[in-house]
Each structure stands twice: as C-alpha cells, then as structure tokens.
Amino acid sequence: MSGSFSKTGLIALLLLIGGPAMAQVELSGTWSQLMHVDRAERGTGPEIADYTGIPLNDAARERAETWDAAKWTVPEHQCEPHPVDYAPHGPASLRTWSEVDVESQKVVAWHVTHAWMVTTRDIWMDGRPHPSPHARHTWMGYSTGEWHGDILEVKTDHIKEGWIRRNGVPRSDRGTLTEFFIRHGQYLTLVSVVDDPVYLTEPEIRAWNWVLNLGYQMAPYPCEYRVETVRPKGYVAHWLPGTNPQIGEFARAHKLPPEVGRGGAKTMYPEYRHELERLLKSQPKPDAKPATPAAP
C-alpha cells in the first residue's frame, strides 16, 4: 500500500529513538491517564458494529456480528477484566514499580497495576524464557522486557482470549503483544502492537499517554458475580448469523454507508478518505424522491 511502511520499520524507528543500551529509565510511579485518543472506548464503550479502523478479517467480523452484549449478564462472564492488550484503554491510571535484586541492584521485574479491576502484570527483566505451550494463559499474559536505550520493549504471549474492541471484535488466545514504554519526564507513553494470526490481517497498533500523579490513590476493585437474569442452565448469549438487528445502527446513526462500519485494514489508512468520499457521494440523499418507475 502506498504511503505506508512496515511494522518492522516502525519498531526500528522507535528503537532508534532510544539512547545507548545502558540508558535505562526509572518508570516507577503513579500515573493518571490522559484520555486523548480513545473516546470511543470509554464509558458504555463503542457502538455496536463499529469496526472502523480495525484490521479485522472476515472471521472476526462474523464473530462480532453474532456477538450479543447480553453476554455480560451471564455470571461466568461478569468478572472478566480487560486483557493485557486492552487494559490501557482502562479506565487505566497506573501504578508502576520495579523489583530489584538487592545484591546486584539489577531490576528483576517491572510490575504494572491498571485501575480497572486492579489487574497487575509482571514484566520479567532477567532473561528468563517464556513458558511452554502447555502452560496456562492469563489475562495479563507472560511478559519479558528488554531496554533499547531509554525505551523498554516488552513482548507478551500466553494471553487469554480477549477482545480488540468491546463490541465483540475478538482477539484469539494465539495473539501476541509487543509494547514500547517511553518516558518523557512527567509523561509516559505506551505504544502497543497486537498480532493475531486468527483474527487480524495486520497488526493492531495503538498508543496511550499518562501523566505522573504523585497523589494518585488506587482503589481496590472486588468483583462478585450474581445471577441478574434467570436463564436456562448453560445459556450462551449470541445472535444467529444474519439475525442481529443492531448491525445497521452505527451506520444509520452517523448517516454512513453500511459498509463503512465493517472496518478492515483499509479503514486504518488516510487513503481510505477517498473511498469514503466516493461512498458518501453514491449514497441516496435522505430527501431524494424515489425514481419514477419507467412507463410500461
């Protein structure tokens, strides 16, 4: 695709920005999230069937279009936190701290706690290998980190199945995460790259920012599940293919052609504006009179 370059190129650029190999950075602190880039993910979450800007494949789209938000009322789904790749959407003010080996004074691990449901992840810095394929997957996955100058690169696998967007766009348990933690004085930036051979055609790349907040207090978040709606044993919330009445709502609400909401890799790129213009022009105008039928 013109006007674009490879993910490898992006990573190389990020790493070039980093300083000398030994220039590690103190990341410890409490951080308030700056909600700049992800308004759609806030509060009640994204609209149903809005997959714009997501490089999902046809299988992911089908799963999303048969997804039913009633899922969250089922007891066994109620206490699911955000998985590690979605957790920075939050609400995700952070507490970060290091674990130091007293004798060598080397950082053994970085730990990050997210405010939403108080999930805590461990980023191992001591060169240990990732677990075997028979080891468990967890919400936070298994992370190892390496400094490239003053940028901390973190690789994570063994993640539970989760979601790219909270409206049913899935990320499989074969997905992996590559992240870059970058500190600029009072600000912390996280660049996140999700790869999923099952549901994405290209990596999902996102970035978030936080500001140092020395007075921030993280509250506990106990979650208890309850039967909220009595349903048959083993109830699974879903729509049969082609029956979800909510699929067209996003496009109708924003006066967009229906195919726009279906997303896909092309909708990530600036060039898509041209196609969008063409689609908008080809839409029938709301006040347009129906064409006069041809005379018999």
């Binding site: 410890s28 494949n57 048969t66 461990d122 240990r128 468990r136 600000y187 699974v236 600036p270």
Partner: protein, 348 residues
C-alpha cells in the same frame, strides 16, 4: 483462512505521531526514585519449564501436588503425588510410557497406586499396561508378587476395551480397568485428598469421566475438553454434541475462579494447555454457538451438504478447525449434525 501477502503496514501519519510522542519533551526523563518495591513476585512469576526436548516428557506443575506430563504424543497425563503414592489420570500411548515413567521418577520415588481412565481412547489408555505394571497396589487380598496398580474407569470403558470370550478385544486384558463403576460417580480418598470420578454420559463417548481432585482444586477432563481443536464426538461409541455441552457445563459448575474470573480451580484438558474456568467458558460458548447454528439449519430443513456449505463454524475455524488429520472441521460438523438428528438414548 486467507492471510495477506503484503507485510504488515502502518500509516505514515500514525508513525509520525508516534515519533513525535516519543521525541516530545526530550529524551531525558526525570529521575524519579522507585516508590514501591514489590516483594515476592519473582517467585510467583517463575516460568514453568520450557518444552522439553523430544527425548524427555515435559512436566508442567498445575497446583499443589498435581502435575501435567506430556510426552510428545497421546493424551495429557495428570499425576497427583503424595505420601501414599501416585494417582495417574490417563496414560497416553504405550510408545511413550517409558518417558512418562522417567518424568514421574523426577518428581517422586513413590509407587503408582491408581490409574484412572477418562475414556477408552487408545491415546488415553495405551500406556495402561506399562504404567500399571510399574505400580504397586494396596493389599486387598492380592497376595501375588506381581506388581500392578488398580485401573479405575466407567464400565463402558471396560466394555470398549474388552470382548466376549472367543472374540478379539481392543486391548490386552492387562490394560483393562480392574475396577469399574456404573453410577454417576466413584470416590477415592488418597494422599489426604478426596477424589471423584464423575461420569459424563454420551459426551465424547459413552464412557467419559472427569476426575476432580477436591483439595488440590484441579479437574482432569479427558476429551470432553481440549484447547487444541473442536471436540471429538465419537458417534459410533455413544458420543453426542449435547453430551459434550452438558459435560462442559458440569465443569463450569464445579470450577470456582479466585479473582477476576481467573485462577482458583484449574482444569487440565485431554489435550492442550492447563486452563481455568474462563478457558472452559470460552470453549463452551464456542461449542454451544455452533450447535445452535446447526440446530437452526436442521430446523429449516437443510441437508448436511447444505449445512457444510453454509460454514456454521467459519468464525472459529481459524482457531479450532482442521482440514487434515483425524478430526477435521467437516467431520466435526457432520458429527454435530448427526447427533442432533439422532441423539443417543439416555443411559438407563
């Protein structure tokens, strides 16, 4: 599943924004001293041993005295170890019995006292003979010098492995279950732990048990649950899609997550990785959704060919499907279709 042939790309605008973010405010961060030194997390996060070389079986600690042993072929083997000896759930194939026993010997020198079979599948009971013979049972009137451990299973496992006099059995008699049950469950108390074998009728086969280690809080599921593919439904031996779903729901009933729908009761599938309740829920949801779609198609009068053409599992095939091997997506769809059209009779 089609994959793009082009390398992954990212827009120039996005990359430029990222670069600006990275460069903004200079590259020298304020040196904030560490404010919260966590303690004790290194041990908690210690990685399980990486996959062993093919010459050795892999050992994955589950929790408490329970381990998963995988020897490169056949089913997962689950062992519970304590002062009284070893309980082994499933024995994989005979070809890897030596590896399994060698792995077990790195964990304990106590004898194998019980073998529990979750089904009669050859890849689950193939090592029965060698692993049982490597064990020692408790007295009980057995005065022979011959060493062996008891083999427990549902009676339909014995029926499947044995044969009437004069006919050829599927397995040698030395591999057959020595103790069977025909009710809902059978109980043991071993290594200071209550252990239940819980019958799951007409699921993967007509002889499935799940094994619940109640103090260790671990369930070994056999082939009613797998993280490696769609569930194998052996129609010829009494399996059914609704039995699979009932078994998965039974597992979800038993498991209790510790926090944030994670940890707590751990689950070892017949094939694949160690799990907890959430993983079983994800699998149950997937199987139920596909069952519901096929049931709806049957209701509309669609033939098996038409159902296959409609690809009712399309959105899950990239994760669980297969186009080659012993259990393909087409075989799974066919088994669901047939078991919905002609469900097995309820066991008496």
């Amino acid at each position: 599943m089609k994959r793009p042939s082009n390398p992954p790309t990212v827009s120039q605008a996005a990359a430029a924004a990222l670069l600006l973010l990275a460069c903004a405010a200079g590259r020298s961060p304020a040196a904030t001293p560490a404010e919260d030194h966590g303690t004790g997390h290194a041990a908690k996060g210690a990685a399980p041993a990486p996959a062993a070389a093919s010459s050795k079986a892999e050992i994955v600690p589950v929790q408490h005295g329970v381990y998963l042993i995988y020897a490169g072929e056949g089913s997962n083997v689950v062992v519970q170890i304590g002062e009284q000896g070893v309980v082994v759930v499933d024995t994989a194939t005979a070809a890897v019995s030596d590896k399994i026993l060698a792995a077990l010997r790195t964990l304990t020198d106590k004898p194998v006292r019980y073998v529990l079979d979750t089904s009669a599948d050859a890849d689950h009971v193939g090592g029965n003979e060698m692993i049982s013979r490597a064990g020692v049972t408790f007295g009980g009137g057995y005065t022979s010098d011959e060493h062996f451990s008891f083999i427990f299973a549902h009676e339909n496992v014995l029926n499947a492995m044995s044969a009437p006099t004069g006919q050829k059995a599927a397995a040698p008699s030395t591999a057959w279950p020595t103790d069977t049950y025909f009710q809902d469950s059978i109980e043991l108390y071993f290594n200071d732990e209550p252990i239940q074998m819980l019958y799951q009728p007409n699921a993967h086969t007509d002889g499935d048990s799940i094994v619940f280690f109640r103090r260790s809080d671990v369930i070994a599921t056999g082939d009613v649950f797998s993280t490696e593919g769609y569930p194998v439904i052996d129609l010829e031996h009494g399996g059914s899609i609704n039995g699979i779903i009932a078994a998965l729901n039974r597992i979800i009933d038993i498991t209790i997550p510790k926090r944030n729908q994670e940890d707590g009761t751990l689950v070892v599938p017949g094939h694949g990785r160690v799990c907890d309740e959430y993983d079983v829920v994800v699998y149950r949801d997937m199987v139920t959704i596909i069952r519901d779609r096929i049931a709806d198609m049957i209701k509309k009068g669609m033939s098996l060919d038409a159902v296959n053409a409609a690809k009712p599992s399309y959105d899950y095939d990239g994760r669980y499907g297969a186009t080659s091997g012993a259990w393909t997506t087409d075989k799974f769809i066919e088994a669901v279709y047939k078991s919905l059209q002609s469900p097995p009779q309820e066991p008496k």
